[in-house]
């Protein structure tokens, strides 16, 4: 249980995870469900329990499309996507963790990828 990280995520997401009534509609509606290790309702529940580390390490963070279907459908306005985004930000903010090195870039390039996206991604995922 990581209290600091939990508080940071709750604060930066602006989400009151205690509002969740565990109906699972977010996960019922999620288009990326199959690709996620942790599902939207689990994000909310795990943040509530302070289990942040497994989330930070999980690929699920980057599988969320931020389509906001869960936000739209949540009967109690919990806004799971904002929790996912907050965890993602927490991962990005972790000092010294470069999620991308310049050497990795050439492999990722393809013709359809806009230049700007590469630059943005690089900025976002490196320190």
């Amino acid at each position: 249980m990581n209290k600091n990280l939990q508080e940071q995520i709750i604060r930066s997401s602006g989400v009151n995870v205690l509002k969740c009534m565990r109906c699972g509609k977010c996960s019922g509606t999620c288009p990326s469900y199959g690709e996620m290790e942790y599902h939207p309702h689990q994000f909310v529940y795990m943040v509530e329990r302070g289990e942040i580390e497994p989330l930070l390490k999980s690929e699920s963070l980057y599988k969320c499309l931020t389509c906001f279907a869960c936000v739209e459908r949540c009967p109690r306005n919990v806004e799971p996507a904002k929790v996912v985004e907050a965890v993602r930000l927490a991962a990005v903010r972790q000092q010294g963790n470069n999620h991308l090195t310049p050497a990795q870039i050439p492999d990722m390039l393809d013709d359809d990828l806009p230049q700007q996206a590469i630059v943005t991604a690089f900025r976002k995922y490196t320190k």
């Binding site: 509002k19 009534m21 565990r22 109906c23 699972g24 509609k25 977010c26 996960s27 019922g28 509606t29 999620c30 469900y33 199959g34 599902h39 309702h41 689990q42 279907a69 459908r73 949540c74 009967p75 109690r76 306005n77």
Partner: protein, 663 residues
């Protein structure tokens, strides 16, 4: 100078833990006029009351201040105690040092200081109290029940049973309400019509019960024991006294494409119609929105075929006025509209239905004669998905914040009935929680699971997508298996939240009763007075007060009836003596007070007065009818000369409190 006794209650530790009660008693003992000031563990207890009584006698008290809980709690207790000791009840004032002091403050020093100030304000007020005597006002021995569903019918039957006349006002052409639309009832699975229609007939045949169907309450005036109500009898274009309900007109009516609201619009009716076979009163009604005769004067078939000449195209709305001693509200509920829940595709797909629609689809008198068929292509559905909590338990912006209470049980009922009748059908129920607190309720739900193999899945449906092959894709999560499901369904049934009827809000305004933010009527006390409204003489029956199933509704209906009977039994009721009164010597006769009085309690009389120069002059002065006045005090502020004042809350009393607080 009054001789005042101050009694400070510990309320166990409720007060004493945060307020130094001894210090309060000590401080108030020094106030002018206070001859005795004491503290005691429980003032409201028998011995506490005896302390008050004995002190009144012993010290010849003319006023009593009790520093205790809210006056809404025990004001009456102490008033009665004072009266028992020979002191006028209205010489008692309460300083609220529990709800408004000890319970909300933590620091003993400041809480004690505040308690002393509140006590001083009460002492200052008592100094200006005057003994008041309550008047009496007669009770009209007739009750009005608003709403003719099972709640209204039961209430009316019980009141009639006690020997009082009852009027039922029902806005639809027939009584019966929602229960008449229901197929079977849980947890016994007996037929709703079989148990409801005998009651409807009983109501119609009881000579004490007078049913005003297709009518609405237009205006309510008066007060407990003496309400004057205007009832609008809407034009049904059929003479109720002549129509025999033979139904010939409904067969012959050429306008056959009117959505049938009784069957939730799943089939059609004619422009002249009787809602259903067992309707009470069994009288035809013409729908002016569809009748060609009423719309453009061309048709008149019903008039021609009617052998008793009951059709009257010229009928108009009629207002009747009646007096009542008690009013019982039984306006019931409706399922919410599902327009804003796009994810369930209710508006896009005919095979996504609400539970109430399913009731009609399964009912023998329903559109399919009791065979469950898909509304779209009339085929037998093999996979049916039930979705619970649609619009219930939501954030305010997304739906209703409350649990609609009945959905878990009726869904189990539906699932079971379907599995019973069509064993080849797969039934899935997506639930968040299954809530079954009720006699034989959980057993019922377990039967659905264990005996009927209904698939209960903990999770919520996220998306419903109608497909081109006529099937419906239901995407949902199974939280226990931690997987996302896709079910290829034939039908989806949504357990829509229920909400109070739309007519309830304007009615509450007319009745001056309170509602909560969801438009449910607020009971006078959530635990101890659940069937009374805070407005005297207005009682609550059924789902207008909150979501309820049939047994609860009937229980509450009878409870409301009992309360109403208790009132109707009395020949007169004691009036509130805290009413306005006008000082004729100061009254200008300007009519300001009369204009703001919500009860019409103020009239004017010409009176002869001796003038300072020994002549006499006739002046117009206000006079308050104390039986009609309810003591709001609007007149006292409208009066510029201060001639109008309010007993128990006089200008000088309130100002004495202000002064005591501001000192």
């Amino acid at each position: 100078m009054q001789r005042i006794g101050v009694f400070v209650c510990h309320c166990g530790t409720n007060i004493a833990a945060t307020v130094d009660v001894k210090a309060v008693a000590e401080a108030l003992g020094h106030e002018p006029g206070v001859v005795i000031s004491q503290d005691y563990q429980y003032m409201c207890s028998e011995s506490g009351q005896n302390l008050v009584k004995n002190s009144i006698k012993e010290h010849n008290l003319t006023g009593v201040v009790v520093c205790s809980c809210s006056p809404r709690m025990h004001e009456n207790t102490f008033r009665k105690a004072a009266a028992a000791a020979g002191l006028n009840s209205y010489m008692v004032e309460i300083a609220n040092i529990r709800e408004q002091c000890s319970w909300i403050h933590k620091d003993i020093a400041t809480a004690t200081e505040k308690a002393i100030i509140l006590g001083k304000a009460a002492v200052a007020k008592v100094h200006l109290n005057a003994p008041l005597t309550a008047g009496e006002s007669p009770v009209v021995k007739r009750a009005l029940v608003i709403g003719g569903g099972i709640a209204g019918i039961q209430t009316a039957l019980d009141i009639a049973e006690a020997g009082f006349d009852v009027d039922i006002v029902e806005k639809n052409p027939t009584i019966g309400g929602k229960m008449a639309q229901i197929d079977k009832t849980f947890p016994t699975l007996d037929c709703a019509a079989c148990i409801l229609t005998p009651k409807m007939v009983e109501a119609s045949q009881n000579e004490k019960i007078h049913i005003h169907s297709f009518s609405e309450v237009a205006d309510v005036k008066g007060f407990v024991g003496n309400f004057t109500v205007k009832i609008k009898k809407k034009a049904r274009f059929v003479d109720e006294t002549k129509c025999t309900g033979c139904g010939l007109c409904t067969e012959k009516c050429p306008m056959k494409k009117v959505p049938n609201e009784f069957n939730m619009g799943l089939d059609n009716r004619t422009a002249i119609y009787i809602p259903f076979a067992q309707a009470v009163p069994k009288v035809a009604t013409i729908d002016p929105n569809y009748c060609m005769m009423l719309k453009n004067g061309k048709c008149g078939v019903c008039s021609k075929v009617c052998s008793v000449g009951a059709i009257d195209y010229k009928q108009e709305d009629r207002i009747i006025e009646e007096k009542y001693g008690a009013i019982i509200v039984a306006t019931g509920f409706n399922p919410i509209k599902l327009d804003k829940y796009d994810e369930f595709a209710y508006n896009q797909c005919a095979d996504v239905v609400t539970s109430l629609e399913l009731e009609r689809l399964m009912n023998a008198a329903g559109p399919n004669g009791g065979t469950l068929l898909r509304p779209s292509d009339k085929t037998h559905p093999h996979t049916i998905v039930f979705v619970q909590c649609v619009g219930s338990r939501c954030d305010d912006s997304k739906g209703k914040p409350y649990c609609s209470k009945i959905c878990c049980m009726y869904t189990a009922k539906h699932a079971m009935l379907i599995r019973e009748k069509y064993p080849d059908t797969e039934v899935y129920v997506f639930y968040i929680d299954v809530r079954t607190p009720g006699k034989n309720f959980d057993e019922f739900y377990r039967r659905a699971v264990e005996q009927y193999n209904v698939h209960y899945i903990k999770g919520m449906v996220g998306k419903v997508t109608p497909k081109s092959d006529g099937k419906i894709d239901v995407q949902a999560s199974d939280l226990l298996a931690n997987e996302q499901l896709h079910i290829n369904a034939d039908m989806v049934v949504l357990a829509a939240a229920i909400e109070p009827d739309k007519t309830a809000r304007p009615l509450a305004t007319m009745l001056t009763t309170q509602m909560d933010t969801n438009d449910f009527f607020t009971e006078a006390h959530p635990k101890l007075r659940p069937v009374e409204s805070a407005t005297a003489g207005i009682f609550l029956s059924g789902a207008c007060q909150g979501p309820k199933d049939i047994p609860e509704t009937v229980a509450q209906a009878s409870a409301a009836a009992a309360k109403a009977i208790g009132l109707l039994c009395k020949n007169s009721i004691t009036c509130n003596p805290c009413v306005a009164h006008s000082n004729e010597l100061m009254c200008n006769g300007c009519s300001s007070c009369e204009k703001v009085c919500p009860y019409g309690a103020i009239t004017y009389v010409d009176k002869e007065f001796r003038m300072p120069d020994r002549t006499t002059a006739i002046r117009r002065v206000a006079s308050v009818n104390p039986a009609v006045c309810q003591g709001c005090g609007a007149c006292t502020v409208a009066c510029p000369s201060g001639a109008m004042d309010l007993n128990g809350f006089s200008n000088s009393q309130i100002m004495a409190e202000v002064d005591a607080i501001c000192k």
